[in-house]
Amino acid sequence: MEIKIVTEPFDPWQEIQTFQKSAKQMHGKYGATSIFVGTMRDFNDGDDVKGMTLEHYPGMTEKQLAHIVDEVSQQWSVLDVLVVHRVGDVFPDQPIVLVAVWTSHRGDAFDSSRYIMEALKSKAPFWKKELLQSDDLRWVDKNTDGYKAAGNK
């Protein structure tokens, strides 16, 4: 299990490859890998967005993410988890978050990675401040509920 908060742009595919190679205890055991990558858009709430700054609460962020990963390990059969999240100045097309879960079977992989993402969105102390095309700065005031949003479509 690894949780990383990074201040520079990262390549999620490289992160996955490096982690998977080094996680030798799961070699031969994993049959399913579920990967979620959240990337910055150039639009939000009807406005064009040029960039954003991600603030976090050092210490508490890592602690809350560790709780979430613990909860997942208690509910599902999980072999390993990698979570990477950006802070600092982020621009469109750059990855913001990576959640990768390795399990023996696909159900556990899908369900646990979804759980981690939704819990991260509501509990991990990160805050986004957007720089709009108009040069106005705007704090994002809340995250949408991913389950509800999917159900309404």
Partner: protein
């Protein structure tokens, strides 16, 4: 005999401070910490609180040396 109070994101900007060092006097709960640190400012209705980096309610009891944090809803991911 003091506690550290921290503020984040839009709340930090609106009150104009990132942290306070507060004497541990007349403080029982997290709600008291806000009142002691921000006498003239009502607590915004949507803010969350943490003590020693764990989420708590505003009636949670505070102890000497605790780190208390206030912040708006989180928007990561």
């Amino acid at each position: 005999m003091s506690i550290k109070v921290r503020y984040f994101a839009s709340l930090k900007e609106s009150i104009g401070r990132a942290e306070d060092e507060l004497a541990f006097v007349d403080i029982n709960s997290v709600a008291d910490v806000w009142v002691n640190a921000n006498k003239d400012t009502d607590r915004p209705h949507n803010i969350l609180a943490a003590v020693n980096m764990e989420y708590v309610g505003f009636d949670h009891l505070v102890h000497d040396g605790d780190e208390v944090a206030f912040f708006p809803p989180v928007t990561g991911g």
